[in-house]
């Protein structure tokens, strides 16, 4: 992230307004067979907006970790499991927050 202020509205704000206008003003006019595509477009925009507002950080250079997992060196590593699970929760919160309510 840079320190130079961006012009407003910024990316997330543009996506938010585009999605809300699309859903309120265009979706009602879509033919039944195009509604699925409309829902997918709204979903893609919502994911992009959430990601821009709260970029989830992954684990840097995870290949050594993966090799250690495969070799069985983390089979009883509760801390690693907790860290992986918490990272997954963050990513689900971006990609499909409703999924967390179901589980």
């Amino acid at each position: 992230m840079t320190d130079i202020p961006r012009d407003r509205p910024e990316a997330a704000e543009l996506i938010a307004v585009a999605r809300s206008v699309f859903q309120a003003e265009l979706m009602p006019f879509l033919r039944d067979d195009l509604r699925v595509i409309g829902l997918m477009i709204a979903n893609a925009l919502a994911i992009a907006e959430r990601e821009l507002r709260d970029p989830a950080g992954g684990i840097l250079d995870a290949w050594p970790l993966v090799l250690a997992i495969r070799a069985g060196r983390h089979d009883t590593d509760r801390a690693l499991h907790a860290r992986l699970l918490s990272d997954a929760v963050d990513r689900v919160a971006v990609a499909n927050p409703k999924f967390l309510d179901q589980t």
Binding site: L65, V66, R70, L84, L85, A88, V94, N96, T103
Partner: protein, 362 residues
């Protein structure tokens, strides 16, 4: 999809025909005359008129085309409602060729599994520029999101779940070796370990490490069930891959991932939470109760299902679907296919990894 509803020649979208239109050709890129000639050779008769050739929705990996043909003369004279199945622009590495899929469909048909009748294979590229086969077109819908919600199925869900259990048991009666299926590898050790090895092998070539998925694969490798009877698996037997009309099941589709393995893998795939299309309370594919599905399977197979074993395979189902989701997302990311559906499937990896981790604490 009613037979005879399309009596006029449907102009074919040109995008599936390779090469530029030939100048002077009255219908540039129209494959239907060549297709009609091929149908005469493949199905018999002395004339064939193609009255519909239209791409159907669905199928991220293959293209399905509705094909209506009127044959004159020969043993099959009359109207036929068919589906022509061919490759999509980009392929998933683990899926079979059309010729192999056709052989699988023929084995299933011969084994009494309810599938669209396979009619003819074009393994060369002279007709459409890529291999394809034709089969009978089934009535109904395969759309998972409709099937789990449509009230039409409320009363019949129990019957449908049992019927699907019986169909799966019939697939699992097919044991190696089988003439025509020599291209399938019989796993040498425990089949679950082979699946884990295949998924790891794919992940090795992926551009980024997936520690959460690897955690799950390590767990699955450690507690893998021993080798039992090896049978033919459909390997994508789930809601979305069978057709249902208002009378019930009309056929099992999409045989491109079939192979030899542990029959419990298919049962776990069908019941896995990731294949319930949001209807998570109905544990048999979002359409019915798990015990109805199990009952149909046990009656047809004569084998008792061990619920603990199925639970294992449901976790493995999430891992396999996670790898397929990465593959599908990659088809978009790599620039091979500008598909919104594929792009969104790629992002399902998060919920799949979440589910795997919850099921595999240390």
């Amino acid at each position: 999809m009613k037979l005879g509803s399309a009596a006029t020649l449907d102009p074919t979208p040109g995008d599936q025909t390779p090469g530029d239109p030939t100048p002077g050709d009255p219908t540039p890129g129209d494959p239907t005359p060549g297709l009609a000639r091929w149908l005469i050779g493949a199905l018999g008769g002395n004339a064939a008129q193609v009255t519909r050739f239209e791409k159907l929705g669905g199928g991220a990996i293959q293209e399905n085309w509705a094909l209506d043909v009127v044959l004159s003369g020969g043993p099959r004279a009359g109207r036929h409602a068919l589906v022509l199945r061919t490759d999509a622009p980009s392929l998933v590495a683990s899926s079979h060729t059309r010729a192999q899929e056709y052989a699988l469909l023929r084995s299933a048909w011969a084994g009494g599994v309810t599938v669209p009748e396979p009619l003819a294979l074009a393994s060369d590229t002279s007709v459409l520029g890529k291999p394809f086969y034709v089969m009978r077109r089934l009535a109904g819908t395969a759309a998972g999101h409709l099937l789990v919600r449509d009230d039409r199925w409320k009363g019949d869900r129990s019957a449908l779940a049992q019927r699907l259990g019986r169909e799966l048991a019939r697939i699992h009666k097919i044991a190696p070796p089988q003439t025509g299926l020599e291209f399938l590898t019989v796993p040498s050790g425990p089949p679950a370990k082979s699946v884990v090895a295949t998924l790891r092998h794919w992940l090795d070539g992926y551009r980024m490490a997936r520690p959460a998925l690897e955690w799950g694969l390590r767990w699955l490798d450690r507690v893998a069930p021993p080798r039992g009877a090896v049978r033919l698996l459909h390997r994508d037997f789930r809601t979305g891959n069978y057709m249902v009309d208002d009378q019930g099941l009309t056929g099992i589709l999409d045989w491109e991932f079939a192979g030899w393995g542990d029959p419990d893998e298919d049962i776990g795939w069908f019941c896995a939470k990731c294949w319930r299309f949001g209807a998570i309370a109905r544990e048999a594919g979002g359409i019915g109760e798990r015990q109805d599905f199990y009952r149909g399977y046990e009656e047809e197979s004569g084998r008792r299902i061990d619920p603990d074993r199925i639970r294992y395979w449901e976790i493995l189902a999430h891992a396999r679907w996670a790898v397929v989701a990465l593959q599908q997302g990659e088809r978009y990311v790599s620039g091979a296919e500008a598909s919104l559906d594929l792009a969104l499937t790629g992002r399902r990896i998060a919920e799949l990894e979440h589910e795997i981790l919850k099921a595999t604490p240390p």
